[in-house]
Symmetry: C2
Subunit: 219 residues, 2 copies
């Protein structure tokens, strides 16, 4: 029983990979290098795949930076460090990214006969990113059921987002419960040897670690 | 007024590019090199983009052949030459391909402020490929409207498939009417200097050219 897991190297996708194993799946990891600012999170993805003894880990380069449009892919737009604004779509939103990633996971899953695709999208992302909302996922499941060979001839691949309604602190608790080495994961939007501690991703992560009673893991 | 046009280099996408111009759009062409067997159709795409004086033509490599699964991306599966069987999904179906391509067009379109995405999917493909059906397109439009920044904040990008209900002969007639140099386009599933004439794509194209009264264009 196979499942494709989109593995970015961050805390959420690492937790989801662990969850897929707990759910009895033999995971196929897919990491997409889309021209983000740094390679650091891809290194994290490799280490996490090794930790979970994943037998197949595809790393797919795809140049979404070619046409720009986000602080995460363009050097001309600065990563914001002024705190989280949940009323607008963040500048770190990469146009179409999740749609491209899920489509690629679907292509891989269909080619390899997977039954599910595990996604790390969650309630915190949901607050600002349009493509992390539950109704987005429902619409994509509908598309998957209509589009694919397996969807026509048999049971369609299921999109599974186990963290979608979780707060970050809930995710941290799940990660701790499955003894995920959180220090291997990389959430920071910036590159470098150490996380910056001030971007949105670092702020949210560190606050959750403190709430979960693990200030020792704060970066 | 911009529109992204997915340009494979085949007759259908070339006709759709011409249609986008006729509809008043300034087209941005997107050709995806996804590990198909040959580069010949990409060369055709470049020539067609030049013919239509397209100012922006992105060529995006993406390795869907990495995990195999289709006669068009795997050297281990032969391209069928025994005629068209419309009762099953063809072996030339590439898992998830259209979903990946439309997702990429969406990413580009959103980054560049396009209002539409033009697609060459049509009635002939529809007979065998699950991801060329009208209901697939409707489901994708729903996803686009939910997923994207423009879909949330303004009018969503429109998916336009002007050939979806056309037979191949109708497409040939449209191409001739807009004086498209059909000889520049490449439909053959095989590589090489000249089209093979025996694969499904060649058979359907040649039959349509004869029906349209242009046997001189048969390859």
């Amino acid at each position: 029983m196979k499942a494709v897991v989109l593995l970015s190297g961050g805390l959420d996708s690492a937790t989801v990979l662990g969850q897929a194993k707990l759910d009895g799946y033999s995971p196929i990891a897919l990491s997409i290098f889309y021209g983000q600012r740094h390679h650091r999170e891809l290194e994290a993805a490799k280490q996490i795949a090794r930790h979970f003894k994943v037998e197949e880990h595809y790393i797919l380069p795809i140049d979404l930076a070619q046409w720009g449009g986000s602080a995460l892919t363009s050097r001309e737009i600065a990563v914001p460090i002024g705190g989280v604004d949940t009323t607008t779509i963040p500048i770190t939103y990469v146009p179409g990214r999740n749609t491209v990633f899920i489509a690629l996971a679907l292509a891989l899953g269909e080619a390899r006969g997977a039954e599910a695709i595990y996604l790390g999208i969650n309630a915190v992302d949901y607050s600002g990113y349009p493509d992390c909302r539950p109704e987005y996922l429902t619409a994509f499941q509908n598309l998957v059921s209509l589009s694919s060979k397996v969807g026509i001839e048999g049971k369609p691949i299921q999109l599974v987002a186990p963290l979608i309604h979780d707060r970050k602190v809930d995710i941290v608790k799940k990660a701790l419960a499955m003894e995920l080495p959180i220090e291997l994961t990389w959430s920071c939007y910036q590159g470098g040897e150490k996380p910056c501690g001030v971007c949105d991703a670092c702020r949210i992560r560190n606050q959750a670690l403190i709430e979960a009673g693990r200030p020792d893991l704060v970066n």
